[in-house]
Symmetry: C2
Subunit: 458 residues, 2 copies
């Protein structure tokens, strides 16, 4: 069924206004389709959530965009909000509360039943971007002396409420994690076997205080659908499921991309963010870069006499500084991306520097040769560059060489330096690197010009 | 146990040289630890794979970097390669073969047993980046008339070989997909119930020819660990598991980031790619951008008379063109990222353009005011900018306004235009946009200067 027909049907049943029929209609659709419907008819968003059975409503609610979630929470009557919050898996509830202002959070937490309140408050206690914030305490645990039959009984009893029972966790009496066993192992085993016999003692656990990036890495390497989260003393606290990691991965990469492009991370989809917010996220970096670029005025000012003597020199300024910026952007982006994927760390700085010096030399040499060739050919066709055209060509070529090497070096080292200082490497955005290289590019250019053209043109 | 102790122990058992002991030692370690060991002692990589039990060897092998995989394949004796290839899950085998040269692939496919060969060849038949290339045919299917007891028997019989039996697929006699049911449902149900009774008819399936990005989206929205893949006629062909999607997501984002930074996608980790390859991936764009930037020489050449008259004008060139480049980079990156996440599509071009015109006006106005203020204050402190300093200030301010608006517009529309032309939007990298905006920035600047300074300085 297409979204259009669904929407038509929804409006049809909404018009008839019979709650039961509306609820029945909505409960028959896919969760992702209902989410789409909410985006198409935002005026009915709260009604749609109201009419659905609470379990499915929570399924829809948790995949909605944050802004839509907040809109719905505002429209729902308090008792329905309470019901919804109580039904949401703890990890989704935590991420909703994280995005709300503190005062609203306090009000909403009051709506939770005491048990859920305790869980939420404890999840909110972990640092932002930590594994603790992603975990859910809805998991199934058994003891090593249980039999397979006992485990199956436990699954039947608590399975309905647990976020994932594809994996069962084995703990001891102290609550320490011993092993994780996929549910299929229990189905394949005979009912009288002990859990102990199924254990392989190869358990991968995440620390609740670890960075969410680590969780991403662990999932990629270990082929699991859920990983257990433990305290510093190896006590089992909860689990993280792989679908939450997919969201985290997307979010982290989006933030990196936006920072590389020279804006603050948007936090919201492009079309949903208000124009004022969009402006705010961009203007800060635009102003910072502008102020950085003001230094070029000073630099240019120093060379005004030279430009006055040889106006031709001004002609090549955009070419020279852009080439530095381009090579710097390349190097910075490659290093930022490699750091994000943990392919390189600060400790590799010397290897990276060596590689980038060679790359910079090669790229610089390429542009040097190309520059000299282009100017020579250009001159032979149109006699644009005057008597000393060859000296001019070599000035440009050697400057390109220097600027590209310098740009590559700055671009590759800046993310590492930022990381070392505790800042986000992605903040060394391509515009930032380009701006940094502009000033030094001018100095390199005019120094080379003075050296080569002294006594000829200057 | 730390990696160092593991490595010491490994070298100890390797020295003793008793195959059984080595195998036993390796089989006791975590798969991810063994992978780490292989990276630490690359000279033993093939031996480590040789000594492990074949099932675990394949588990390690499939999470290794492509280069290491290829290195191992080269070192292993053919019969061991055959054993390993046959043991690898079909999706991992396909992705290994994809990265090898055609002649090697033909040799390796010969090593497969007929059944595995058929599977591999069929997976290789789907277009690159399609869901078909990710799928594995190792799934468990049942019919709607089966009882729960029958299903559990099927699971016990075939479960050992299936990549994931967390989800069971219901098909009809024609092989068409009817529903997917999580294994927990069968454990929670009574043995005499029919599969039919457990079905909710809400199945999300991926088309084998769909783009892998769609699979990513479907997983994020639907909270599943595996999704079924169907043909155009809804026949069940295989399944895709979420861990493969995590790899795809990382890869796609890395490619986008690298392209945004103005290089070709590296395909390999930064430290593993050879310097020559690294140079090749970068030099193409550096040359393209250089050639684009050559146009600035022509543009500057047109304005040499003006610069000769008012050298001061040259002073502001880097500031003006960089501001255009910066605003263009921001806009391009935001749109590329929103397109990658499918938040916007070509159809939204008008909405995007409206938003970017307003953003560009606001950002331009900010820099305009800032520029006029800075030059006025600067002049009042140092009398740098001569008699007509206010006219100069307005020239710079209005030029900034125009250049930023233009940069924002070009940056936001270029990814959409590239997409429309069938190219990758991420190719409208920040250096590319900056270069495009440089030429037009110069023209805007000198046109404004002629307009305002005519009769005063010009």
């Amino acid at each position: 069924m297409t979204l259009e027909t669904l929407q038509a049907e929804l409006e049809h049943v909404l018009e008839k206004g019979e709650p039961e029929e509306i609820g029945h209609f909505l409960d028959q659709q896919n969760i992702s389709d209902v989410a789409e419907l909410i985006y198409t008819v935002p005026e009915h968003d709260a009604s749609i959530i109201m009419y659905m059975s609470i379990h499915r409503a929570s399924g829809v609610f948790k995949i909605l965009e944050t802004l839509t979630q907040q809109d719905i929470i505002q429209k729902l009557p308090p008792e329905k909000t309470a019901e919804l919050l109580n039904e949401l898996p703890p990890d989704d509830r935590t991420s909703l509360l994280e995005d709300l202002p503190g005062s609203v959070v306090r009000e909403l937490i009051k709506l939770l039943n005491p048990e859920e309140r305790k869980i939420t408050l404890s999840l909110l206690g972990y640092p932002e971007n930590s594994v603790g914030r992603l975990m859910t305490p809805d998991y199934v645990y058994v003891y090593e002396n249980n039999t397979v039959q006992q485990v199956l009984d436990v699954i039947r009893r608590v399975g309905k409420n647990s976020e994932t029972i594809d994996v069962i966790y084995v703990i001891n009496e102290k609550g320490e994690l011993l092993d994780d066993i996929r549910i299929r192992e229990f189905i394949l085993a005979s009912p009288n076997q002990k859990v102990l016999e199924l254990m392989d003692d190869r358990v991968i656990a995440l620390n609740a205080y670890a960075d969410q990036e680590e969780a991403n890495e662990a999932f990629k390497m270990n082929n699991r659908v859920a990983l257990p989260v433990v305290s510093n003393s190896n006590k089992l606290l909860g689990i993280v499921t792989i679908d939450d990691i997919l969201w985290v991965a997307t979010e982290e990469f989006s933030e990196d991309i936006q920072k590389i492009g020279g804006t603050e991370a948007l936090d919201q989809p492009y079309l949903e963010i208000s124009l004022l917010q969009l402006f705010k996220k961009r203007v800060v970096w635009i102003i910072v870069l502008f102020i950085g670029e003001l230094i070029t005025i000073s630099a240019m000012h120093q060379f005004e006499d030279e430009i006055a003597k040889v106006v031709l020199l001004a002609t090549f300024i955009p070419l020279i500084i852009s080439s530095g910026g381009n090579s710097g952007s390349q190097a910075a982006t490659l290093v930022i991306q490699a750091m994000a994927l943990r392919e390189v760390s600060i400790a590799d700085w010397w290897t990276i520097m060596r590689r980038e010096i060679i790359s910079g030399l090669l790229l610089g040499l390429t542009l040097c040769i190309l520059g000299i060739a282009v100017i020579s050919i250009w001159h032979s066709l149109s006699h644009t560059f005057g008597e000393y055209y060859l000296s001019v060509a070599f000035t440009i070529g050697i400057s390109l060489m220097g600027v590209v090497l310098w740009g590559t070096l700055v671009g590759s080292m800046l993310p590492l330096i930022l990381k070392r200082l505790g800042a986000d490497p992605a903040a060394s955005s391509t515009p930032f690197v380009a701006t940094l290289v502009d000033v030094t590019g001018l100095i390199i250019y005019f120094s080379v010009a003075l050296l080569i053209l002294k006594g000829k043109l200057l």
